[in-house]
Symmetry: C2
Subunit: 418 residues, 2 copies
C-alpha cells in the first residue's frame, strides 16, 4: 500500500445518540462528515443508536424477562446502531460520497464473551484500510462487537466512545473526535460557576479524574483506552462550531501550558459512614472493610483517626448513596462483633476536588485550597489526595459556594498559555 | 452423533409478522413452541419482524433517499428480525427451555450478493445440529442472509417463508410449518364463497397456481423451493388450533385423493390491451411484445385472433394494472410503426382460474367450466390453459358470480377422500 505522503489526516469521529436522534440530525451529521471528507481527510465514523432507541429495546426485553438473558440482550440492543449506520451511509451516498456501513461483527471488533459488558480484544483493520484507500467513508456501529464464536456482544452503555477510541488506536488515526451535546471540557460545571471556561487542552489523567468525579462528557473507559494507546482525543459539539477540548498525553503539553489546577470537579453521589469507638488493634481496618467489599459495595474516601486516650479509634469512609442502607447493615453487624460504640451515617455530604497535573511540581496547592475554604467558613470533614488531585468532603449545603471559591482561588476563569 | 432412533420429528416452524406483532403474541408463540419441544420434537423456529416494523424502517430510509442504497437497505431492514429472535429466545428461556438465536449471517445462510432480492446458495447446518443435539431450540431470523464477503443481504419481502423452507431442506426436517393468520389453503376465498372449504392436502404445483393467482397464503418462491427439495410444507393458523393444509408432492397423494379441481383462484390486478387491425404478417407478435418486455412490463395472458378478410388481425394481452398506462404508451408507438388501426384498453377485467392436478387425466374439465359460465351469461373474453389450470378473463362485475358458480359446478364444498 506504500507510505501515505498526504498531509491530510485520518479522523475517527464518534456521534452520540442525540447527534443522530432524528433523520434531520443524521442529515446534519452527513453534512459534517462530508465537509471533512471533501477537505481530503480519511474518515471513519462511529455511531450510537438514535436517542431513546436503546431504552425502547430494553423495555421490550423487560416485558418478557426481569433479568433478560445476556446473550439475547446483546442480539436485541445491537440493532439500534445497525439502524443508524445504514441511515448515515445512505445520507452520505445521497451527497455523492462513497461510504459503507459495518456492524461490530463485520469490522471485525473481536471481544471477550462477557455479554453486556464485553471488552475489545482486537480489531481487524484490513477491510477498513481497503475502503479508506479507495476514498470511501467507513461507518461503524459503536458499542458492539463479536466474540470468537461469532456471538454478538456489547461493550455496555456509553461503549460507543470506546469503539471510537479503539478504532482510532487500531488505525493509528491522527485524532479521535467525540461529538456530543457540549462543546468541550470545562474548568467546572458552568451551571454552578458562570465564569467556567472551556479548556483547550487537558491530559488523560486529568480527564480521568474529572470524569470519575462527575463530569460526564466522556466514558471513563474510553479515556483510559485513549491514554493507554496515546490516541489524541477531542471532545466537540455536534451542534456548534468550535475547536472543543483536546485530551493528550502529559508529555505533549509544554511546561508553560500546564496550569497548576485545570479544573474543579464535584459530586453529590456519596454518603458517609462512621464507626465510633472501635478498639484500635492491628487489622481493624481490614475487619471493617472486608465485609463491605464482600457485599459488593465500593468504598471511596477512607479516613482513620488517631487513637483516643481510651485506646479506641473512629473509622470513617464514604460509599455511593444508593449503597448507604446496605452498608449500614453490614457495619452494624461489624460494630457488634468488634464491640464498637456506634455507627453513624450522613448522606448530606458532597465531594469537591481540584485536579491538575501541575500539582505534581507545585507545593502548597492543597494549602491554597484549605485556606480558601476556611475563609468561607466551610468545614472540611475528610481529605484525600493523589498525585494530581486533592479532594475534600464537606457539608452538601456549601457545595456551590466551595466550587465558586476554589474556581476563583485558582484563577480558572483566566485562560493560560495555550 | 449416532443414528437418531427417536420417533419424534424435527420441525421447522415459521411465524409471520402478525404472529409476533406484540410482546403478548411473542409469548403465545413461545407457548406453542414450548409445547412441541416438551413433546420431544426437535425445533427450529424462523421469525419475521414484528408487523409494521419493516415498513417503519423503510420509511426512515425513504426520508433520506428516494431509492435507498440496496446494500444499506439490507443492513437497515434486517434489524427487524434480529429484534424478534432475541425476544422469542428470552421468552423460551423464561419458560425453562434452552434456546439460542441466530441472525442469517450467524447460521450461516449464504446468499448471492443481489441485495434486497438475494437467493440462498447454501446453509451451514453444523451449529444448528449441535444445538438440536443438546435439546436446544434454534431461533433463526427469517428473510436475511450474508454474501461471501460478509455483507448482509435480504431475500425480499415475504422471504421468511423461503428461509423456513430452506432450513427445513438443509436439515432434512420432517415438516416445514408456516404459521400465519389463516388456518390453511381454501378451495377459494371464503369472503366470496361462504361454503369455501379448507383443503387437507394440495400439491406443490396446485399451490403455485393458487398462489400466483392471488391466494396470498404463501410466498411463491417458498413453494417452488419446497417442491424442488420435496419438503413437506404445512400452512397453519397461529391463533387457532387445527391441522392446516399440507402441501406435498403429487406422488404422495393416493389416486382417490386427487380431486379433478382443487380450487378456484382469481384476481383483479390485471388490465387488458388490444391492438386492432394489425397487418397479419409473420413476426408481428414479436414486434408487439418485444418493446413491452424491454419496458420491463410483465405480460400474462396473450391471445391473437385469426386474420380477418382484410388480412389484419387483433392482438390482445393483459398486464398488471399498475403497468397499464406505461404499456399503453409503448403500444401506441408500436401501433404507429405497424400501421395498426387503434389501441384500446380495459382495466375493468378479472381473471378466474380452476386449478387441479386431476385435470391432467380428466377430459372435459374446461368444457364444464365454460358451460357453467355460459349458463350464467358470463361472457368469456380470453382463455388460457396449462396442464393443471384453466383461466378465463371476464368482466370484473361478474367475478364473484363466476367464482361461486364454478365452486359449485366442481362440488368444491364437499370434502374428498382425504
Amino acid at each position: 500500500m506504500g507510505v501515505n505522503l498526504s498531509p491530510m489526516g485520518l479522523f475517527v469521529q464518534k456521534y452520540g445518540g442525540t447527534s443522530v436522534g432524528s433523520i434531520e440530525r443524521i442529515e446534519a451529521v452527513a453534512d459534517k462528515v462530508a465537509t471533512f471528507r471533501s477537505e481530503g481527510h480519511d474518515m471513519v465514523v462511529v455511531l450510537s443508536a438514535m436517542s431513546g432507541e436503546t431504552n425502547r429495546l430494553i423495555e421490550l426485553a423487560h416485558k418478557i424477562q426481569e433479568h433478560p438473558d445476556p446473550r439475547e440482550m446483546d442480539v436485541l440492543v445491537s440493532t439500534g446502531e445497525q439502524v443508524t449506520i445504514a441511515l448515515l451511509t445512505m445520507a452520505l451516498k445521497k451527497r455523492g460520497y462513497d461510504a459503507c456501513s459495518y456492524t461490530g461483527g463485520q469490522v471485525r471488533i473481536l471481544t471477550d464473551n462477557a455479554h453486556n459488558k464485553a471488552r475489545i480484544q482486537s480489531i481487524d483493520v484490513e477491510r477498513m484500510r481497503k475502503d479508506l484507500d479507495t476514498g470511501r467513508v467507513v461507518v461503524v456501529a459503536g458499542f458492539q462487537g463479536v466474540d470468537d464464536q461469532g456471538n454478538i456482544t456489547t461493550l455496555g452503555r456509553g461503549g460507543s466512545d470506546t469503539t471510537g477510541v479503539a478504532l482510532a488506536a487500531a488505525l493509528k488515526a491522527d485524532e479521535c473526535q467525540i461529538y456530543t451535546d457540549v462543546d468541550g471540557v470545562y474548568t467546572t460545571d458552568p451551571r454552578v460557576v458562570d465564569s467556567a471556561r472551556r479548556l483547550d487542552r487537558i491530559t488523560f489523567e486529568e480527564m480521568l479524574e474529572m470524569a470519575s468525579l462527575g463530569s460526564k462528557v466522556l466514558q471513563i473507559r474510553a479515556v483510559e483506552f485513549a491514554g493507554k494507546y496515546g490516541v489524541p482525543l477531542r471532545v466537540l459539539s455536534t451542534f456548534e462550531e468550535g475547536p472543543g477540548t483536546l485530551i493528550t498525553l502529559d508529555e505533549e503539553l509544554e511546561e508553560m501550558e500546564k496550569p497548576v489546577v485545570s479544573g474543579i470537579a464535584f459530586n453529590r453521589d456519596e454518603a458517609k459512614l462512621t464507626i465510633r469507638g472501635v478498639p484500635d488493634q492491628p487489622g481493624v481496618a481490614c475487619k471493617i472493610l472486608a465485609p463491605v467489599g464482600e457485599a459488593n459495595i465500593e468504598v471511596d474516601v477512607i479516613v482513620q483517626n488517631i487513637s483516643a486516650v481510651d485506646g479506641t479509634t473512629d473509622f470513617t469512609f464514604t460509599v455511593h448513596r444508593n449503597d448507604l442502607s446496605k452498608a449500614k447493615g453490614v457495619l452494624d453487624r461489624v460494630s457488634n462483633e468488634l464491640g464498637a460504640r456506634e455507627v453513624v451515617t450522613d448522606d448530606r455530604i458532597a465531594k469537591v476536588s481540584i485536579v491538575g497535573v501541575g500539582m505534581r511540581s507545585h507545593a502548597g496547592v492543597a494549602t491554597t485550597m484549605f485556606k480558601a475554604l476556611g475563609e468561607d467558613n466551610i468545614n472540611i470533614q475528610m481529605i484525600t489526595t493523589s498525585e494530581i488531585k486533592t479532594s475534600v468532603i464537606i457539608d452538601e449545603r456549601y457545595l456551590e459556594l466551595a466550587v465558586r471559591t476554589l474556581h476563583s482561588a485558582f484563577n480558572l476563569s483566566e485562560a493560560t498559555g495555550v
